[in-house]
């Protein structure tokens, strides 16, 4: 009985993971070369930055907010790092630290505006998006190539894993970020308060939780995730460019939501988000392996796969919840 109840609590996560593997199996059956460890790991290599960004988004959504500045902040990070590395020749690790600091400051300002002046997160972060994008262009409208040795080394380094397959350092960073995020979400007061705020902000206040500090902290965390994601993205792209990460905020939000995070707040997990990212990655890979679709059919195919996935997720979850009430019933007849 206990197990059943447990599974119902993690139901949406389980369904999501299950569907992900189903999708992957589908691709493996259909396309040669799809089913390989490397192709699986490529999902991580190619999406490391998105995983990190979506972690931040997940926290913000859990706390009942929204942040659409993330893509632009990523772009700003790439550009500013490139500028500092190439034009100012700063130490690469100093640059990374500065970037994270900038993310925290950016989040701090956004969070403070949202908390103290009760401004809507959507607008504040939309303005944040304009601002970051604009600043990127102000630094340089030309692409700045990152030729720094350390960045090059990190970008090209391949960590061998089982059987000739490899991962990149970015993947390691993403995994560590994921673990830390999971720890914050489930084992710290800060994380739990975020859930409470998302569940019911007014109640959280009345329960005597430090709502303001947590809310601002969450946006700072979001900012840090965006910049970390930007750093990883600059390993990936090795350049600063105004159009990097265009529209990435939607990918990030979609990943979190597909992974089971509620936009209304209070519910979600970073592991769900990881699978949200992987699912989008798999859908993309499937379409790429297909290789005969025209540009428009590509979009339609991506949407159809996404739609199938979401509908299945919705139906499966609903069915199982009905089952859950049956469990409840038998529970009662025992007592």
């Amino acid at each position: 009985m206990n197990k059943l109840q447990l599974s119902s609590k993690y139901l949406s996560l389980i369904v999501t993971i299950f569907l992900f593997f189903l999708l992957f199996a589908l691709g493996s059956l259909k396309f040669t070369g799809f089913f390989s460890l490397q192709n699986f790991l490529n999902l991580f290599i190619d999406n490391a930055y998105l995983i990190i960004m979506a972690i931040g988004t997940t926290f913000i959504l859990i706390a009942g907010g929204i942040d659409i500045s993330v893509g632009a902040v990523l772009s700003l990070t790439c550009m500013l790092s490139a500028y500092l590395l190439e034009m100012k020749h700063l130490n690469p690790f100093l640059v990374m630290a500065l970037m994270l600091l900038m993310g925290a400051a950016f989040g701090l300002i956004q969070g403070a505006l949202i908390h103290f002046f009760k401004m809507q997160p959507f607008i504040v972060t939309l303005a944040g998006m304009f601002f970051a994008r604009g600043m990127t262009a102000v630094i340089s409208i030309d692409t700045i190539d990152i030729t720094d040795k350390t960045y090059e080394l990190i970008a090209n380094y391949r960590i061998p894993v089982f059987g000739g397959a490899f991962i990149s350092i970015s993947v390691v960073i993403a995994v560590i970020a994921l673990l830390i995020a999971a720890y914050i979400a489930h084992f710290t007061k800060f994380g739990r308060t975020a859930y409470a705020i998302g569940g019911n902000e007014q109640s959280a206040v009345l329960m005597g939780l430090s709502v303001g500090r947590t809310k601002i902290g969450i946006y700072m965390l979001g900012g840090i995730c965006s910049t970390l994601s930007g750093i990883v993205f600059s390993f990936y792209m090795r350049s600063g460019f105004t159009l990097h990460g265009l529209g990435m905020e939607m990918e990030s939000i979609a990943s979190a939501v597909i992974g089971g995070t509620l936009l209304t707040g209070g519910v979600g997990s970073v592991f769900g988000t990881l699978f949200g990212v992987l699912i989008q990655g798999t859908i993309q890979t499937l379409v790429m392996f297909q290789g005969t679709l025209s540009s428009w059919w590509t979009k339609i195919a991506v949407a159809i796969l996404l739609c199938l996935f979401i509908v299945m997720q919705s139906l499966l979850t609903a069915r199982r919840i009905r089952k859950k009430s049956q469990v409840l019933k038998s529970d009662i007849s025992h007592t």
């Binding site: 401004m119 809507q120 304009f130």
Partner: protein
């Protein structure tokens, strides 16, 4: 003095007050810094000037904002409106056809009707996902946002269909015989429709109610699902009309670029209009003002020749400032700062104006 104070108090209590202040501030700025901003002249039988441009170009934002306001009021969001614009424009252009001779393939009326019908169907599809399958609105509409561009390009076969049929351009600019841009009349029609629906029937009450407390609304015997279908369907219709205007403005259908990113502007218009993104109480007129603010900012930027790079930075600062003015808490902080001079809060407001 007392009477003025009272009146000021009553005005500032209105939901439209602060959005209007925002708009006035932007226009006021223009009055000072942009030469001839308010000058209007007659040209080829219609009015011509920057202000007219603003109204004309804000038309599609207004249309999108009307639909979006209702969606947001139910606690939802629709990020597929930009794509729906592209589809509707594509359908219309494809039916009218890109003949150099300007002879339409199908009659213009049929083309418009078909485009709008498609838009409504797409809107209902969003409604189906949200109401029936209970998928969260962002992802539900994300599907159409992604697919929509593909569908639009499928319709146009990836080409930009340029239409040479003369009346095609009327919707997006001027119709012979009317001195104001056609989009004003279209907005007026859609706006009236929407206002009648929410003010003269109980739809407005129901939508707010559903946006604030869905459970309680359902318990009160209101069919929330039907309501959601309706609202998304209407939003689709608005997007469709906007798509026609957008396509007509450039006399072409561009599956990829038409309405690109407009969903964000529509949402921004709703928010600038003083509406809460969490649903509930809404003001369509507020969103209309929001749309005007957005377009005014853009026009101002062009007029001032703000360099393309810093354009977004300036936009960010303006948006934040307008929202700060709307924030009660910010005004309170500001008032507290000034209070040391012994002036009352309301006088403060007056001074700031």
């Amino acid at each position: 003095m007392q009477g003025l104070k009272d009146r000021l108090k009553r005005w500032s209590g209105s939901r439209l007050f602060w959005p209007l202040v925002g708009l006035v501030l932007v226009l006021f700025f223009n009055l000072i810094f942009v030469e001839g901003f308010f000058s209007i002249e007659m040209k080829d039988g219609h009015l011509y000037g920057r202000i007219i441009d603003i109204v004309k170009n804000a038309g599609c934002y207004m249309l999108l904002a009307i639909g979006m306001t209702l969606v947001v009021a139910t606690g939802g969001i629709d990020i597929s409106v930009g794509s729906m614009c592209a589809i509707s424009g594509a359908v219309m252009a494809a039916l009218v056809g890109g003949e150099l001779s300007g002879i339409p393939h199908h009659s213009y009326g049929i083309a418009i009707a078909a485009a709008l019908a498609v838009s409504v169907v797409l809107g209902l599809w969003n409604g189906f996902l949200v109401a029936k399958l209970e998928i969260q609105p962002v992802v539900a509409t994300l599907i159409l946002m992604v697919a929509g561009r593909g569908i639009a390009q499928l319709v146009t076969q990836g080409q930009i269909i340029t239409v040479y049929y003369k009346p095609y351009a009327y919707l997006g600019s001027f119709t012979p015989g009317l001195i104001l841009p056609t989009s004003i009349f279209i907005v007026a029609i859609v706006l009236t429709m929407a206002l009648v629906a929410v003010k003269k029937t109980s739809l407005g009450l129901f939508i707010q109610s559903a946006g604030i407390n869905r459970t309680a609304t359902r318990y009160s015997g209101i069919n929330v699902k039907k309501l959601i279908y309706m609202v998304y369907g209407f939003c689709g219709l608005c997007a469709g009309v906007a798509g026609l205007v957008i396509s007509s403005m450039v006399k072409a259908a561009d599956g990829n670029n038409a309405g690109l990113g407009y969903e964000m502007d529509a949402i921004l218009a709703v928010a600038l209009g003083g509406n809460s993104m969490n649903g509930g109480r809404f003001s369509i007129m507020g969103s209309i003002i929001g749309a005007l603010i957005i377009q005014s900012i853009t026009t101002t930027m062009y007029a001032l020749g703000v360099s393309p790079q810093v354009l977004p930075v300036v936009k960010a600062v303006v948006v934040i400032s307008i929202c700060l003015i709307q924030s009660d808490d910010f005004r309170r902080v500001l008032a507290d700062l000034f209070k040391k001079d012994g002036r009352s809060q309301h006088e403060q407001v007056a001074v700031k104006l």
